[in-house]
Symmetry: C2
Amino acid sequence: MKDLKNLGFCLGLFLTSISTLAADKSVFTPAQTKTAQSLIQRALESNLGYEIVESLTTEVGPRLAGSKAEKRARDWGVKLGNELGFDRVTVESFTMPFWDRGELQISIESPYQQDLYGTALGGAAPSEDTITAPIHYFRDINELRNIDEGELDGKIAFVDGEILVKSQTGGGYSQANIKRRVGWQLAEKAGAKALVIRSVGSDSRRFPHTGMMSKKEGDLWAKIPVIAVSNPDADHIRRLHNLEKQITISLQSGSQWKGERESGNVILDLVGSEMPDEIVLIGGHLDSWDLGTGAVDDGAGVAITTAAAKLIADLPKRPKRTIRVVMFGAEEVGLLGAFAYAKQHEANLTNHVLATESDFGAGTVWQLVSNTNPEANKAIDEIAQVVAPLGIVRGGSEEPGGGPDIIPMAAKGVPTIRLKQNGMDYFDLHHTPDDTLDKIDRDELAQNVAAFAASIYLAADADVEFRKLESDN
Amino acid sequence: MKDLKNLGFCLGLFLTSISTLAADKSVFTPAQTKTAQSLIQRALESNLGYEIVESLTTEVGPRLAGSKAEKRARDWGVKLGNELGFDRVTVESFTMPFWDRGELQISIESPYQQDLYGTALGGAAPSEDTITAPIHYFRDINELRNIDEGELDGKIAFVDGEILVKSQTGGGYSQANIKRRVGWQLAEKAGAKALVIRSVGSDSRRFPHTGMMSKKEGDLWAKIPVIAVSNPDADHIRRLHNLEKQITISLQSGSQWKGERESGNVILDLVGSEMPDEIVLIGGHLDSWDLGTGAVDDGAGVAITTAAAKLIADLPKRPKRTIRVVMFGAEEVGLLGAFAYAKQHEANLTNHVLATESDFGAGTVWQLVSNTNPEANKAIDEIAQVVAPLGIVRGGSEEPGGGPDIIPMAAKGVPTIRLKQNGMDYFDLHHTPDDTLDKIDRDELAQNVAAFAASIYLAADADVEFRKLESDN
C-alpha cells in the first residue's frame, strides 16, 4: 500500500483525460470529478480514519449492545460529530433485550481430562449447574438435521465442520455459520443438554469466535447452553472421536438474557446545499462484541465513513444532497439499530437515495458493486472509474446488499452500493479477543476513506435518480 | 518441505561419492554412512514423530511441572518407551516446589475502563485482595533499574518494551526476557504493589506469554503479583500513556507456591553393542506450561528424539554406544529435571560422550553446531555432510549449548552438539494457549527426526573421543 500516496499524483492526468474524451456524455462535470479526485488525494494523505478508530478502541474499547460501554460509545460518537463540525448530530434511542456472556468453564473429562477454550454464543441460556455428559459427535450440521427427537437425551451435541477457507470475499462464511445460527434449534429439539460447535473462523488460534444465534420471530430463545470452541480445540475433539473414544464434556455457563436495556443510533448529518431532504446514507456499527475492542468489526467502518464525510465537509461547499453518517447500535445481536432506523424513518425512506455500510474490516477496497435504478448505472460506472486508480474494479450492478445494517432499508427499496474490502484475514479476527487496533493498517484504512469520500461525494452531488421505479422492485 | 522425501533418493549417489573420494581419511566407514543415509530416508517416510507428539498433546495435554498431569505424562513416556522396544525404561523422581497459576482478573480502571488479557508469571505471589493502584510507566527494563527505593510505594510498575523481532535463531529473546526474569526484583525493591510487563513474544495475538521468573539461590521469591499482558494490551497501555493520562490498574491474582510435589525424568535406553557404558544423550522436556498443550514446547522435542532413537533401534544391530533419550521433567520452572539428572549421574557424567536436546519447536533444522574436543571436529564435519542434503549447514565448532536441559551436564564437561531449528514462529506460540498440535508441520517434523537419527547414530557408532581433555575445559 506504500505506493498509494503516489497514485494521487497520477490521478489528475488520468481523470482529466477521461473527462475530456467523454465530456459530452459524462454524468459528472469535470469540476465534480476534480473535486472527487482531490478528496482521494487528501484522504490518502490524512490519518483521520486511523485516529477515529484509535480513539474509539482506546477510549471505549469493547461495547456490547445494550451495555454501559455502548452508551459511552454513543457519547463518544456525539462528541466526535460535534468536534468534526457536522451540521446535525442526533441520537435515536431504542430499547432491546440484553444478553450477557457471563463466565464459562468447559473441559473434556474423559477419556483424558483437558480444559477447552470456549465461549458462549449470543442468545444462549445458562447451565443451572455443571453439566457433565457424553457427547454425540456430528461431522457437520447436516448430520444433526437427521437426528430424531429424543435421540440426544442426556447428551451434549458437538458439531464439527471444516475450518473456514480464507478468501477475499469471505465466501463460505454464511454457509459455515449455519451451525452457529440454527444448530441449537436442532440440538434442543433432539433433547440435548447443551450444544458445542467448532467456532466459525479461518484461523488456528485458540480464540473461539462468538456470534449471535438465530430464531424465528415469536419463537423462544434457546433453553440450553450453546458454546463455540476454538479450531485447535475442535481439532482435539475430532482426534479423540477418531480414536473411537467416548468423550465426556463438562461445562458451566453463566450466559443469559437480562431484561431490557437502551441502545441507539448516532446520526451525523452534512446538510445538502440544494436537496437537503435527499439523503445519501453511509455508516458502520458502533456496537461490538465484548471479547475484542471492535477494531475491524466495526470501529473501522465507523472511522472510514466518518472520516470520508469529514473530508467532504471540509470542501468549500456542501454537496447538493445530505450526507448522513449513521453509527448503528446493536448490530451484532440482530441488526436492531438497523431495524429501529428503518422503522423510525419509514415515512421518508423514499428520500434515501443511496445507502452503503462499511462492515467488513479495513482491508483494501477492491470492488464496487451496486443495486440501483439501471438508469443510474452510468453514474456508478463513472464513480468506479474515479476510484479505479485505488485498485478498485467495477463489480455487478444488480448485486443486492450494501452492508448488514442496510438490509432493512434496502428491503424497502433504498438503492445500495458497496465498496468491498479484502477480507482475507477478516475471519481470523472477527468476534474474537484478537479484534484490536494493531490489526488495522493505516495505509489500507486511508485507501478505504479515499474510496468512500470520492464515491459518496459524487453520489451526493449527482443529478441522478438512483431509486428504482415501483415496477422495478 | 514437500521436496524432502525426494531428497532421500539423491542421497545415495551424493554420499557414496563423498565417501569414495575421501575413503582413506574418513572417520566413518562407508557402511556407517550408508546406514545414516538409510535412517534419513526412513525418517522422511515415517510419521512416527508426529504420532508421538499427537499422542502426548491429545492424551495428556498441558503438563505443568509438579502437577498430576506431569505424572500422567511420565506414565505415558514409560508406556511409550516399552511399546517402542527400548532396552531399559526408568523413571528418576525428584521433589520440587510447586507453583500454581490460579485465577487472574486484570483491568484498566481509569482513564477508561477496559479489561486486559494477562497471565501470572511463574513464581509470582498472589494478591491478598484486589489491588487498585496508579501505574508508573517504564519504557523498558533499564528505566526501572534507575528507580530509587520507595519511589514505587503504592504503585503498580508497568514495564513496556518492544515486540520481539521474529528471527530464525530467536535472537533477542534473552535480552527481551530480562524484564520477565528480574523485573520483579527491581519493582519490589522500589516498593511496587505489583509488576505488570509487556509479555515476551513476537506476535500480536491477545495471548500473553507466561514464563518463569528468576532469583538468586537462597533468596526469597517475589512477595508481589507479577503479570504479563499481551502485546495488543501493552500497546493499549502505551497509547494511554502517550495521551498523558494517569492510568489506574486493578488486579486480583491467585498465583502461588503450594509446597513440595513430585516430578521426574523418564529415561529410555538403547544399550550399546560394544561400549554400553558410554552414553550419547538426546532428549526434550516432558513438562509444559499449563496454558497450551505443549506441542512445540516441547512435545516436539520429546517426539523428535524418541522417534529418532526408535529408528535407530530398528536397525539390525545396536550402535556401539548406548543411546539415551531423556524426557526431562520440570524444565520450564528452572531446569529442575536437568539439575536432578546431573546430580544423580554425577559419578558417571564422564561416560556421557555427547549430549543434545531438541527444545526449540519443530521448524526445519538448518544448522549443526558443536562444542567438543577439537580432535572430534572432523567427525562432526562428516556428520554435517551426511545431513547437508536436508538443508543443514555446519555452524560453529566452539559453540556451547546443546539445549536448556543440557546446561548442567555441559557445565561439568559433557560435550554437546545442537541441531538448530528455524524459530521464526516459535515466539508467536511458546508459553501461550496457542502452543497446540496444529502448529506443527508433519514434513518439517520428519526432517528433524531425520537429522537427529542420522547424527546420533553416527555419534554413537563412532570410534571418536568427543570429550575434551581436562586441560581443554
